[in-house]
């Protein structure tokens, strides 16, 4: 079998390839090309993009190179079938389904009570022709398409982060708290007979629906079935939900109006900007709009398509622009700093975040193509009538693609720089700025400035910052955070000096304590049973450096075990410097009774995740850091009086007493395992003892503080199904259904 070796430029031009890009399961020099629909075929007749309805995208070639080829689900036959030659020759590890390292497509159609035959993408005929030809009638093509778009999206994340990605764990809460590793995201391309598609965190699956279209429908082709699994935008959107869930599982717990909106917006952003990266799509639009990407036709079409495809209606389109009353033309919308004040519905709210990022994109793109226009118009700035020169089209398209790729990467990397829960749009802005500072210190094209300007125009401000300058937007370093925390505790004002002096001292003390700690072993005094079990099972004595090329399950276990050491270090922080700076409370006498405690009656902290990240800290290269997320939790009650009462109880509360809701607070921080420096401190708005934050969450849940709307909105979680204990735990299905109103 001839292996196709084509050195193709990756689908992401201008991507920053770090030295530590890991291809343990992706062969760096091979790509697999697969054909997909660029526009949902049922929309094709209406939108005049018939010529480029089909595109071919490049996705990673999955092979055994460097990694363990077997896993819990491998059969004897699998293992025996592997020979030395297989591993040497970069034989594809992709199985029929397709079933790969990250995803598995299982084509079960319960509403029709049938399965569909899985496609084998390694069939030589398919390798020769870039996969099956696009076809609505062949379910195998549907399998191919979901696999292709999903892998393209995953690849983007792997490259942006520079590490393998993980899906969220399967949690079972019984006598003990069990977390299982989920290797593959499952995709069911024909799961529902409904106008819906969603990511199920409970099943770690993407479910796509299909529904019929009638003759009276002016938008769609009559007599057809619409398959949501044939829409690139929907697939990219849904898999992004899964990817985000894998990094921040608590981002689907609504504690403020931005949380669900953020999930939706982030998924939209990835899908939208990913679309820009495909060759051919932008060229056409740029030719049509003569290079003006903010022109009505292009944007309106894109957003409209997007909305129709994803079933989100016109919320994105409305956020980006509106129909001018007089002329009837659709025009790009001027940013409205008060728009967010008025809107709580997640899709609509999320649309404003997308609009803000899109504006940032436009600002940079306009900058970048300014000289091209000058050159091509000889300085007059006026393009000749008719079509613009094809060379110019190509150059403009390239600029747009690179800008889009860069922006997308900034947004993806920012995910590592978010607080562990209670995300707000303002937090995300801080994350974008800080993440970019770490990888792109000299911002030649002014991306950061574009973001700040755009977010400010849309009224997105982080809480607790005084201004929208880059310096005040970036998250504080440890020294600064330490000095502030100390000043707050001592009731003193914070000066630049004190940051310098006090902060440095604090930082040094922290480094010392971590130093001593990371090399020591467990003494068994920790009482978090789960972490203790992990460590004893692996017989690990101390913190271990992570080998990113090993099998992902082994890596997962290693990361989990490392979490234990961080946890122990924090619990043993005698002077409470680190803990205080990170906004954690571990003293029994400083926390109300409602804060969850361990058997020793100390308020517990949960080390949520310990992941590797690569930063460029100086001109001598990159350094490996760890992203650590730490959380605490507290019982919340909807009745403020009951809350006060429970807060003040003397006796420890039983583990089974859960209150009406759970208030969480904590911190994400970056730490350098070599010199033990804590680089950034990203705290939630309040600590676990902050009554005001708990109050704010309570008011949000009961719908008490909804802004002026034109409907009494149902989007507060309380109204979506008050305290229903056995209600189906499908937050994304609900969100998407809800939107049909």
């Amino acid at each position: 079998m001839r292996v196709k070796t084509v050195v193709v430029e990756t689908i992401i031009e201008g991507f920053f390839m770090t030295a530590n890009t890991f291809g343990s399961h992706f062969d760096l020099n091979l790509t697999r090309r697969l054909r997909v629909y660029s526009v949902d075929p049922s929309l094709a007749s209406r939108i005049s993009t018939r010529e480029i309805n089909e595109i071919t995208i490049d996705i990673p070639w999955e092979s055994y190179l460097g990694g363990k080829a077997v896993s819990a689900s491998s059969t004897h036959a699998d293992i025996e079938a592997l020979s030395h030659e297989d591993v040497k020759e970069r034989k594809s590890s992709l199985k029929p389904g397709p079933v790969g390292e990250y995803v598995e497509v299982i084509d079960y159609d319960p509403a029709s009570s049938v399965f569909y035959v899985p496609v084998d993408l390694n069939d030589p005929r398919l390798l020769a022709s870039d996969g099956l030809a696009p076809s609505e009638a062949d379910p195998q093509f549907h399998q191919q398409m979901v696999y292709a778009v999903t892998m393209a999206t995953i690849h983007r994340f792997v490259q942006a982060f520079g590490r393998p990605i993980f899906w969220s764990n399967h949690i079972v809460i019984g006598d003990k708290y069990v977390a299982q590793f989920v290797r593959r995201l499952r995709i069911y391309p024909h799961a529902l007979r409904a106008r819906n598609a969603y990511y199920s965190p409970a099943k770690k699956s993407l479910l796509f629906g299909y529904f019929p279209v009638t003759a009276k429908d002016s938008e769609n082709t009559p007599g057809t079935t619409v398959f949501t699994c044939l829409s690139h935008d929907i697939i990219a959107h849904e898999v992004t939900h899964a990817l985000l869930d894998g990094i921040h599982p608590r981002f689907n717990e609504p504690s403020n109006p931005d949380v669900h909106a953020f999930h939706e917006a982030f998924a939209d952003l990835v899908a939208l900007f990913q679309r820009f990266s495909y060759a051919g799509i932008l060229e056409r639009e740029i030719a049509n709009t003569r290079g003006d990407l903010s022109s009505e036709t292009m944007l309106a079409q894109l957003a409209g398509q997007f909305g129709r495809a994803t079933g989100h209606g016109s919320s994105l389109r409305d956020a980006l622009g509106q129909c001018d009353r007089q002329s009837g033309q659709w025009k790009i919308r001027e940013p409205d700093p008060f728009a967010l004040d008025r809107e709580t519905e997640p899709h609509k709210r999320g649309s404003y975040l997308v609009a803000a990022v899109f504006k940032a994109f436009n600002l940079v793109y306009a900058e970048r193509v300014d000289d091209l226009f000058r050159i091509s118009t000889q300085g007059t700035g006026v393009l000749p009538d008719g079509d613009i020169h094809p060379d110019l089209v190509n150059r403009l398209a390239r600029e747009a693609r690179e800008t889009a790729a860069h922006i997308l990467r900034m947004c993806i990397r920012a995910i590592d720089y978010c607080p562990p829960v209670d995300i707000t749009f303002g937090d995300f802005l801080r994350a974008i700025i800080t993440a970019d500072l770490d990888i792109n210190p000299v911002d030649e094209c002014g991306y950061r400035v574009a973001f700040v300007e755009s977010f400010r125009a849309w009224g997105i401000y982080p809480h607790g910052t005084r201004s929208m300058s880059i310096e005040s937007l970036r998250w504080p370093g440890f020294a600064e955070a330490f000095a502030r925390a100390k000043a707050l505790a001592d009731n003193e004002a914070v000066h630049a000096e004190s940051i310098q002096v006090v902060g440095t001292k604090g930082r040094m003390m922290a480094q010392q304590s971590l130093d001593g700690f990371l090399d020591a072993g467990p003494d068994g005094s920790g009482t978090d049973e789960m972490l203790l079990r992990d460590v004893s099972r692996t017989k690990r004595k101390s913190f271990e450096a992570l080998d990113l090329r090993q099998d992902r399950f082994d890596l997962w276990k290693q990361m989990k075990a490392n979490g234990y050491f961080i946890w122990r270090w924090l619990m043993q922080d005698n002077e409470r410097e680190v803990v205080g700076t990170l906004g954690l409370v571990i003293d029994d006498n400083k926390a109300p009774a409602t804060v969850y405690r361990n058997k020793k009656n100390e308020p517990t902290i949960e080390v949520h995740s310990v992941r590797p990240i690569v930063l460029k800290t100086d001109e001598f290269g990159e350094q490996n850091f760890l992203v650590v997320e730490v959380l605490q939790r507290r019982r919340g009650y909807l009745d403020p009086e009951k809350q006060k009462k429970m807060d003040r109880t003397r006796k420890p509360l039983s583990r089974d007493e859960h209150g009406d809701f759970t208030y969480r607070a904590g911190c994400t921080f970056l730490i350098n395992p070599e010199n033990k420096e804590i680089r950034w401190v990203m705290r939630t708005a309040g600590t676990i003892v902050a009554d005001s934050e708990l109050e704010r969450m309570r008011r949000y849940l009961t719908g008490d503080n909804l802004p002026n709307l034109n409907e009494f909105a149902i989007t507060s979680p309380a109204t979506m199904g008050l305290a229903s204990t056995t209600m189906r735990d499908e937050p994304f299905a609900l969100l998407h259904d809800q939107h049909e109103e």
Binding site: F115, Q180, F181, K203, K216, E219, T719, M727
Partner: protein, 532 residues
């Protein structure tokens, strides 16, 4: 118990407290004196939602008895706003009443073509939903999520079909008996024989076929022989475009064509899932075999049961999907491929709830909306049934001309002093807004001098709605807004009397709550609105 009297000029309104549902009796002075003119607007309740007072349930029988005594069993006008269980299921108890006239929305008109199409669609959709419900019932055994969904779907189906207390406990029987068919599982069903339909036809018969089917904005109506009363019908809208509306957001309108097709496609799956019984049912109902509704050619399809056999297709499906209980519940393991919690056998059925909700909302939007005006002072009593967004927005579609003067919806709402809160105070059945907004909303109501008298009626049993049906009725923010606007004058089924708010003086409150104006009993609240 004496007859209910009417004030010399104005109206007396009784809101009955039979449970989570509407029942209003109004008394107006008659032209030329004599017995008052009585108007009954709806009579229904959600089974099990009755309140209990002094150890006795306040049930429909007691209510009907009270109405009988209050009116001498002769009612001038009976109004049915729309065909939902909680508005009609007690009407069967009015067998020996006389109705001089019965008012319905144009959607009930047997001679109206558009109305006929809507009704046919509704029936088809209901059949489809019943099929899905059967399939979900099969899947519900031992599955908490499915049982939960089934309960909620049943509540919604009950609204459409109309079961009452006699059908209470067993959900299966309730659904089936409300369709008036024996409790044989999987038997064919005919929604035309539902209890709701029977209640409606009873009323039509008792009215001796003096029936009026009302179009909005067509003309201003008079209320029989009632003195000094005009009625402005504001809804439901006659919007032909709604039938072909395919906007994915536009489900506020009537049951649309697109939805019907989606629903039958969905139902075909349900029938298939039900096996032989289901297919028989669909044949009886006049639907073709579901083969036509498969998304792909049969050559691509592998029947589920054989595909799961270990030797078929290299064991791919057996290995990756599996059957039965698999999966190691231990920590630190890799989740197995065929784990049971990854299966999706009944996920698709949950869409039934969305369809049911859409169906419900569609019918809610066919509510007859009447603004009853006391002509001297212009005060308006607004009875909006369960009208939701689409219906509300249409109130402004046209104007009325009275004595040469134009009356807009804004004018009429501005003079509203009594508001029967839509759909138990749920979201979207009362629109929030300000007086200067461009669409009809709460902010338009009771302005200027009329503000002082603004009062609201909420027909909801809040605790029952939250606990049993998982509905947030009334929505707290709506209740809060109403309390603010009405300065505490809000009546709710499960609250014995309005409470004086802190910012209202005792003398003002006493002025409102005095015996002449307000009466609160276990069975009803009575409010008098004077036309001077």
């Amino acid at each position: 118990m004496p007859l209910m009297t009417a004030p010399k000029s104005g109206a007396r309104i009784r809101m009955y407290r039979q449970g989570h549902g509407d029942c209003f009796l109004l008394a107006f002075p008659r032209e030329g004196g004599g017995k008052p003119v009585y108007m009954l607007i709806d009579c229904g309740y959600k089974p099990g939602s009755q309140i209990t007072r002094k150890g006795k349930k306040v049930d429909a029988n007691r209510i009907v008895k009270d109405i009988a005594a209050a009116t001498g069993k002769k009612i001038d006008i009976v109004v049915i706003t729309h065909e939902h269980q909680d508005h009609v299921n007690a009407l069967g108890k009015f067998k020996d009443f006389e109705f001089a006239e019965a008012w319905f929305a144009w959607t009930e008109d047997p001679h109206d073509e558009y109305a006929q199409e809507l009704r046919k669609r509704h029936k088809d959709q209901l059949l489809g939903l019943l099929g899905a419900r059967r399939a979900l019932k099969l899947a519900a055994d031992g599955n908490a999520g499915a049982s939960d969904a089934l309960e909620r779907i049943d509540e919604l189906l009950a609204l459409e079909l109309g079961n009452d207390d006699d059908d209470a406990d067993d959900a299966d029987n309730a659904i089936l008996s409300s369709l008036n068919i024996p409790a044989v599982f999987g038997a064919a069903s005919d929604p035309l024989k539902s209890k709701n339909k029977k209640a409606m036809s009873l009323i039509k018969k008792r009215a001796g076929n003096r029936l009026r089917f009302i179009n909005p904005h067509e003309k201003v109506l008079s209320l029989g022989e009632a003195a000094g009363i005009r009625v402005f019908p504001l809804g439901p809208p006659r919007n032909v475009d709604l039938l072909s509306d395919e906007d994915p957001k536009g489900s506020e309108g009537f049951p649309g064509h697109g939805m019907a097709t989606s629903l039958s496609f969905f139902a075909a799956g349900a029938n298939r899932a039900n096996g032989a019984a289901g297919r028989a049912a669909s044949v009886i109902a006049g639907k073709e075999q579901p083969e036509a509704e498969m998304p792909f050619d049969p050559t691509f399809s592998l029947p589920k049961d054989t595909a799961l056999e270990p030797l078929k297709h290299d064991g791919f499906f057996c290995r990756n999907y599996g059957e039965g209980e698999t999966g190691n519940p231990d920590d630190d393991f890799e989740a197995p491929a065929a784990a049971f919690w990854r299966r999706i056998d009944e996920e698709w059925l949950y869409s039934a709830e969305t369809f049911a909700l859409k169906l419900n909302r569609g019918i809610n939007n066919t509510s007859l909306v009447l603004a009853i005006e006391l002509t001297k002072t212009g005060k308006v009593l607004l009875f909006a049934g369960d009208a939701q967004l689409g219906n509300w927005k249409s109130w402004d579609d046209d104007v009325f001309v009275v004595d040469g003067k134009t009356q807009t919806a804004r004018d009429i709402l501005g003079r509203t002093v009594v508001y029967k809160v839509g759909h138990h105070g749920s979201h979207n059945a009362t629109l929030k807004g300000r007086a200067d907004d461009a669409y009809p909303n709460l902010g338009w109501m009771g302005r200027g001098s009329y503000e002082a008298e603004f009062t609201a009626f909420i027909t909801a049993h809040n605790r029952w709605a939250l606990d049993k049906a998982r509905w947030n009725h009334p929505l707290p923010s709506i209740k809060k807004e109403l309390l603010k606007k009405a300065r505490g004058r809000v009546f709710q089924t499960d609250e014995d009397a309005p409470e004086k708010p802190d910012n209202v003086s005792q003398s003002d409150w006493d002025g409102f709550m005095n015996d002449e104006r307000v009466k609160c009993t276990d069975l009803y609240f009575e409010l008098t609105v004077l036309d001077d």
